[in-house]
Symmetry: C2
Subunit: 494 residues, 2 copies
């Protein structure tokens, strides 16, 4: 067994430590020497790229086009929408100068005081303000609507406590921004994008989610409604995995985006915004992985199949290569990504451990005896089951195995989710059981007071009012004893 | 003719104005309300995306992997490599604070003085320092080498005079960074990446380039050698389109990146870096476009074929649609991107002008009479030639036309380049002829003094010592009269 694998903390010992170690040991990311920022390493970035590529295709299918808006936002733009600035002002990186110089006395590099900006800029924590400032020029008539744009970019929020992928000062994300002629169309778009997220996360990432709408307290700063997908991690905590916001006319009014409607009347445009970020990498890791390392869904694995030759001499290796080359070619022709690892500096055992750690879905191993018998050993990463198979129909077997792994890890995660959603209408019971994690469906009176009491006393929050859960016969709020308005999903969260 | 097209300035009247107008009218980009920054609009971004996608494939073929490093660079990192900080300090956006607040007196949003950073950060103008600070952790042994990474990201240089795509404070680019065990391997990599750039720019962008090596004065800050590709614009000015740097051990030493070599000796790693940016969009526009608007190479055109139906009634449109649908399907099956524009709010004449402006390579138009005759009108954007053809073999005809346009616009640009490279060894003649633009091959004594005199007196610079040009029988430097060391390529540039 490889050294780094042996040292991986067990999930049951310390889930949080297991996560932190796994991210680093599997070469996904590392802490940068910049406060709260991370370096996404090639293997981690390759997963992000696949995710990005697939999601981008889904956006485009709904008519969205990509664009790019500036990194820096003038401070004054920020103040135009009151709730928005309230939500983001406390965690903004601020650019105040535009030059460094060598200090004559100390000979050190210093900020040149003469190069102070008249108006400071904020590094975007999100781009509604700068986008809507542009929409003002793009939108004059109902004929210019809808506008459906998205950007893939970096954003910055000066978080105090950070963790790789889950919460970093700088992170990568996509932010979609749309403008519409009617309230209904904007609301439909916000809901549509939530559906795009839910489908993508379930079908590609194999992560089951609960969809729903946020409470007022948990809404995006400046939104009238925030729709969310919530996933459950293996420790029973929720991870908000994507949000879509119906912003009403707040930004239309703040940036004076008016258009002439079909009846020749001036109207303010209706807005949505929606985003997912590198946080999804955290969800991916914490949903499927185990004490041996990552488990990746085949649809997002940068390498889907790894082949490890077991040989003593160069001649052995050559025979193996001859046997396996046509299979690699055929797999690649089937759009399956394959790595043949003939690196002679490392032993097969080391390689096996490493590919387990890195979550490669299917591993093939092939030695001299296999050549004689015309067989090959095949292992699936999700169950770690091995079998020895013949070469007939091997490519089809691998393709079907990949598809089976994709289905299997989703099912496993779905079973976990379903068995960790509890109905609960007794606050004492809730306070005890929430210690163990899980998603709780509880009657809620709809007041922020009750919501904040739950948060203070249990560190759990209302994740959403979930779709597909009956909102009838609610009974009494478990905290206040008043008649409940909703059946809310409550959990501790990342 | 559409209003906006009519108003496009002619190149012969004012080339610079033509460019600025075209970028905006063709919906490629616009000035942001942020000093020196641009908004890349969906149509412009779609071209950038195609370019990015193709180039990324070429990088990966050479073994490069993508990664992501932080946006912010601690000020102290910057000072470690003396030439590097010298080159970039004067144009850096500096982050000094991490919070805004509401001022109690004025009720305005202000920078919170209590949230001042101990050490300031610079928004990356380029990432050598932060990358090499990480490489220190990645590289211990020759077995860890080479490291070949690239990132697609935004960077910022506080330029005083900016122009859309050509020079903006923030721009998008890719920056590759590699570390090697030997000097030779690093030099080969720097040259290889220049070749990747040259091949891509010629084959996909249809822009012919001159390859060569920069003079010492024009080198990247911190490089031992900078390789460059230089393209010629229609006004005879050069546009530096991509550079690749051999950085020696400068960053290895500045960030103490040492490794144990095969003989068990400690060595500093050897470095390269290389980049192209959204500047390439400027090169694309200024190489091929004409007084009617953009001309796009088919291999980078987001829409390769547009079909405009000409009809009076909905029934007519339906007949056209029936006729054209199978053709669209077949073209898409051949990986040709097609737009069928049945928008009834705009007349065909308006559409024709717009698609000319936007540079769609092939336009089809189809009306009632065409249906009767079983013909269709086809126009190629590069030459504006129209012909009427039958439906037999139409898809193959379109595919071959696209390939022909790609070849033709490259040939045209190559003819222009070749006929604008002049040998010149007389400085008086040079000073006169440089007014008209063009690339001049001149004997140079190799001194920075001569180089700077040429720049002061003519605004022309040494673009490179070109490859493929004889460096023998050089004669005397045209300025100093001393024996020449090189035949240099001299031009005014963007």
């Amino acid at each position: 067994m490889a050294k780094e694998l042996k040292n991986l903390t067990k999930r049951s010992d310390n889930y949080s430590k297991w996560y932190n170690e796994l991210v680093v040991k599997a070469d996904l990311a590392e802490q940068a020497d910049v406060r709260g920022c991370m370096i996404i390493k090639p293997y981690g970035y390759a997963i992000w790229e696949k995710l990005q590529h697939e999601l981008d295709k889904q956006f485009k299918k709904t008519g969205v086009q990509n664009a790019y808006f500036p990194l820096l936002i003038p401070k004054s733009f920020f103040g135009r929408e009151a709730e928005h600035v309230e939500g983001f002002a406390k965690e903004c990186a601020v650019v105040t100068h535009y030059r460094l110089k060598v200090d004559e006395e100390s000979q050190q590099i210093v900020v040149d005081p003469a190069a102070k900006l008249e108006e400071e800029y904020v590094i975007r924590p999100t781009s509604e303000t700068i986008v809507w400032n542009s929409f003002k020029n793009w939108i004059q008539s109902y004929r210019d609507l809808p506008v459906l744009v998205n950007q893939w970019c970096n954003v910055m929020r000066w978080e105090m406590r950070t963790r790789l992928f889950l919460r970093t000062a700088e992170f990568l994300w996509q932010e979609g921004h749309t403008a519409h002629a009617t309230r209904e169309e904007a609301e439909d778009r916000a809901k549509l994008m939530l559906k795009v997220y839910a489908d993508f996360v379930e079908q590609f990432m194999a992560i089951p989610v609960v969809q729903g709408v946020k409470s007022e307290t948990e809404r995006f700063a400046g939104a009238l409604d925030t729709y969310t997908i919530e996933a459950i991690m293996q420790d029973g905590k929720a991870l908000q995995s994507g949000t879509s916001h119906f912003l009403g006319q707040n930004f239309g009014k703040a940036f004076d985006v008016q258009f002439v409607d079909k009846d020749n009347q001036m109207q303010y445009a209706w807005a949505t915004s929606w985003g997912v970020s590198t946080r999804l990498m955290g969800a991916l890791i914490m949903t499927h992985s185990d004490d041996n390392g990552l488990v990746l869904p085949p649809r997002l694995a940068p390498i889907q199949v790894v082949i490890v030759p077991i040989y003593k001499t160069d001649d052995d290796l050559e025979l193996i290569r001859q046997k396996i080359s046509p299979i690699i070619e055929r797999l690649e022709g089937m759009n399956i990504s394959v790595k043949f690892d003939d690196d002679d500096k490392r032993r097969p055992g080391f390689k096996f451990a490493e590919y387990e750690l890195k979550g490669i879905p299917v591993r093939l191993a092939l030695g001299a005896r296999d050549l004689e018998n015309n067989t090959i050993e095949i292992m699936r990463r999700d169950t770690l089951e091995k079998e020895t198979i013949g070469f007939d129909g091997i490519c089809e077997h691998i393709a079907s195995l990949l598809s089976d792994i994709q289905t299997n890890i989703f099912k496993k995660a779905k079973t976990y989710l379903d068995s960790h959603i509890y109905e609960c209408d007794n606050y004492d019971e809730f306070k005890e059981r929430i210690q163990e994690g899980g998603f709780f469906l509880c009657p809620w009176d709809g007041t922020p007071e009750t919501e904040s009491r739950i948060k203070e006393e249990t560190q759990a929050t209302i994740r959403c009012i979930p779709y597909g859960v009956s909102q009838e016969n609610l009974g009494l709020d478990m905290v206040s004893g008043k008649p409940a308005k909703y059946r809310a999903l409550i959990a501790r969260s990342y």
